[in-house]
């Protein structure tokens, strides 16, 4: 455990990817199995469940520390784990802490009612830095600036292997990755994953630029709607003795449990790429409807009936057990179309082939974009090279997304709250409102879209213009206009204003604009999805 905590500590304060990679490689070379594999899993975010809940941690600390003082400390520190790590009152140093793997085994084996006691015992023999490491590990909240992608690159470098090998193996191997690490060190065979249903890293697009539109050549591109759902990969093999099906998010999270209605009817040996949506037969419901289904661990039958899941399929990686990724898109599309429209297994009321669109020139393409954007279920256009192979990651010049222009509204800052993590102690979360007659009603909250310099100015403005305090929330003078960009508006019963914005972010800070000239709620209501 000491080495793991030390590694996190160094990673946290080291800047630069190369320096971080060097630290991790050192750790891999000097740490025994299975500890090092668990560390990799923790850093890569590959641990499948929390060892304990954040609430357990909060409960433990408030049993030991005055609740008010905890709240004030948390407000200042900006993070529960670190607050608890410092506030934990008991410390009986032990000569040597148990190994990381022993601690993990302990949490995996302990019965639910003993988790809290086990955690308390560990916290009491650790230093604040070690406690922090344990709390971050246990709640899967490690953010030390090493992405899942870069840990794969680091593993590839460590073993002198190709990154694509690691990508392919990744979802077929499980923590603590003993076989993978041995293979990397040439001490064992390449892990065999032929029997495992795995996530295939997805192909991603770049935002389109004006010059790409100007150069548009109709016979080179497949044009499709960009749907407003979530990107998923449907993997299925029902031809084995033990049939397997899985629905993965674009980052490889297994979200099968939330969409049994979609998976139920699928059979065959295939991997499909597409958009998950709530669909009533052919008709697409809003993102708001889909949100009712996301993050529901076990959807009720009623919910599935009201919001049935469907998938618009736009690409195929595997059909009938045959890998198609090295075929050009035009051929993959042909095979996908045949499969979904002409085969018994492929014809399925939940699976819909993505429609392709046509434009004969750059001008027509622009007109098409304008037209599709009037449909609120569509987010814009996708342009994909017909000759593109299915390449994981974000290859240049192959796929483009052309999103609908964001809406913007001039709103007035009403409240501010301190941020977390890197922004702890800065007022970086802003609630803003729109006018209804003489009153401002809050319409949303944004905490992105500004530069570090702008953040400093906003923080300073909040501190100078604060007029009240509700716990951690500062009320400010209703004087600063924020131009807020957002993707859509929905009706919402949770907010007094009756509206909820989708992905609001600060577009500009209107230091120049008087608050009285900000937009009215009526303007925003007129943009509601219908």
């Amino acid at each position: 455990m000491e080495a793991f905590s030390e590694l996190l500590e160094q990673l946290y304060f080291t800047s630069g990817n190369n320096a971080k990679a060097a630290l991790i490689k050192d750790y891999l070379a000097s740490t025994p199995d299975p500890d090092r594999g668990w560390a990799v899993a923790a850093i890569a975010g590959a641990l499948k469940f929390d060892f304990f809940k954040r609430n357990t941690v909060k409960k433990l600390i408030t049993e030991r520390v005055d609740g008010e003082l905890f709240a004030m400390s948390y407000d200042y520190v900006g993070e529960v784990s670190e607050t608890v790590a410092h506030l934990w009152p008991d410390y009986e140093p032990s000569v040597k802490l148990p190994a990381l793997s022993e601690i993990i085994d302990d949490f995996m084996g302990v019965s639910r009612n003993k988790v809290s006691g086990t955690l308390a015992n560990y916290l009491s023999i650790m230093t604040p830095a070690q406690r922090w490491a344990l709390l971050k590990l246990g709640t899967r909240g490690l953010r030390i600036g090493v992405s899942a992608r870069s840990i794969k690159q680091i593993l590839a470098d460590y073993g002198n292997k190709d990154i694509s090998d690691i990508e392919t193996l990744w979802h077929g191997v499980k923590p603590p990755y003993t076989n993978l690490l041995l293979w990397l060190e040439d001490k064992g065979p390449k892990p065999d994953i032929s029997d495992v249903l795995t996530f295939h890293p997805v192909m991603l697009s770049h935002p389109i630029e004006e010059k790409h539109i100007d150069d548009f050549c109709p016979h080179l591109w497949q044009i499709e709607n960009k749907y407003d759902g979530i990107r998923v990969q449907l993997a299925c093999n029902t031809q084995k003795a033990e049939s397997q099906k899985a629905l993965f998010s674009r980052t490889g999270d297994d979200i099968s449990h939330a969409f049994p209605d979609l998976l139920e009817a699928i059979s065959g040996n295939l991997v499909l790429d597409g958009e998950l949506l709530v669909m009533h037969k052919e008709s697409i419901d809003t993102f708001n409807a889909l949100q009712q289904r996301l993050n529901k661990k076990k959807p009720s039958n009623a919910l599935m009936k009201t919001f049935p899941a469907g998938m618009i399929v736009y690409d195929a990686l595997v059909i009938e057990g045959i890998d198609l990724t090295s075929l050009p898109l035009a051929e993959r599309r042909k095979k996908l179309q045949d499969y979904l429209t002409q085969t018994e297994k492929g014809i399925n009321p939940r699976l819909h082939l993505s429609t392709t669109l046509f434009a004969a020139s750059a001008d027509e393409l622009r007109a098409l974009h304008q037209k599709v954007c009037q449909n609120r279920a569509v987010e814009g256009l996708m342009l994909k090279r017909l000759d593109s192979y299915y390449v994981p990651g974000r290859p240049k010049g192959k796929w483009y997304k052309w999103k609908r222009d964001a809406f913007t509204v001039d709103a007035v800052m009403m409240y501010a709250q301190r941020g977390h993590g890197k922004r702890s102690s800065f007022y970086s979360d802003y609630t803003f409102g729109a006018w209804q007659d003489d009153t401002l009603l809050p319409i949303g909250k944004a905490y992105s879209g500004f530069t570090d310099d702008e953040l400093k100015k906003l923080d300073n403005w909040v501190r100078r213009n604060a007029i009240g305090r509700f716990g951690p929330v500062r009320e400010v003078k209703k004087e600063l206009v924020l131009e807020v960009a957002f993707d859509a508006v929905h009706t919402s019963s949770r907010h007094k204003s009756g509206v909820a914005l989708r992905f609001p972010r600060i577009h500009r800070i209107r230091w120049d604009k008087p608050a009285s000239e900000a937009d009215t709620l009526e303007t925003i209501v007129s943009l509601i999805d219908t």
Binding site: Y12, F13, T14, S15, V65, D66, E68, L69, M72, S73, Y76, V77, G78, E79, E82, T83, H86, L87, W132, G421, K422, R423, S424, S425, R463, R464
Partner: protein
Amino acid sequence: MHPSQWMKIDNIGLYCKPGDFYIDPMSPVQTALVTHGHADHAREGHKHVFASHETLAIMRTRYGEEMADEQQGVAMQTPLTFNDVVVTFYPAGHILGSTQILIEYAGYSVVVSGDYKRRHDPTCPPFEVIPCDVFITEATFALPVFRHPPIGDEIAKLLHSLAVFPSRCHLVGAYALGKCQRVILALREAGYDAPIYLHGAQIKLCQLYQQFDIALGELIPVSEVVDKQTLAGEIVIAPPSALADRWSRSLPNVRTVMVSGWMQIRARAKQRNAELPLIISDHCDWPELLQTIEEVNPTEVWVTHGREDALIYQARKMGYRARALSMVGYDEDEQGESFHGSV
């Protein structure tokens, strides 16, 4: 008469009406009593200044000989009279020359403790507990998350880093007055006797400390080093603001070390781009604040300068009357660290 009727806060600072003087005023006044030399307490341009000899010397170093029309050095524990008010200075243990000020009037006593700490500091005599009716305390680190580790442990981290990265120049960000000298002394105490290199902003005050017989060992201004590459593996101390400055680019393979009580909060350390944060403070941590209130045992605690809410809450829990002394110009939290770099 209760002190709340004869002590008041205005936009200049803390004012004693019957004595007609300010303590640590932010703009020029007729009579100023100054607790210590940090810039958020000691300003220039007053008519009369009363402070310890060391504090006056610090003020002259910073602002020039003419920093005030009349400068009066005050001996510790020697009462002075301002009209009917009796004033006595006591050591505060914060930095060289730092003091608390005891004010007695109309049957009541008030202690303005200024900034203070309870740890050992070879550059100044220790904080003295003075019984009083009203104790005015700072609250810079007044949250239970703040527990400063022993300074020896932190210095050991720096020396360990020098051993692990012998080719990297260790650029230490430390406030020029107090923190810089304390770090140098702690390094010397830990047996580090190599020359220590200084940014120009640190030099005058180090010389002043040496004039007060505080031995800092061999110090070399970075500006006198011809080949900056020779600073690989050496310790350079600079003000925190110089860490990210162009100045530091001439140094070889810099490892950024930041010395401050704030370094305990990792996001704070990260914000300062510290690769090696060292938790060294010239203020009290939470347990020391509570210990001090208990030992002084006043009837009333007035809290200023930092996280007042938590300390007021805790002092009340401990059975004391407590309230915030909202001091204009002292609100260090609102300014971030840029203004008050001394912590």
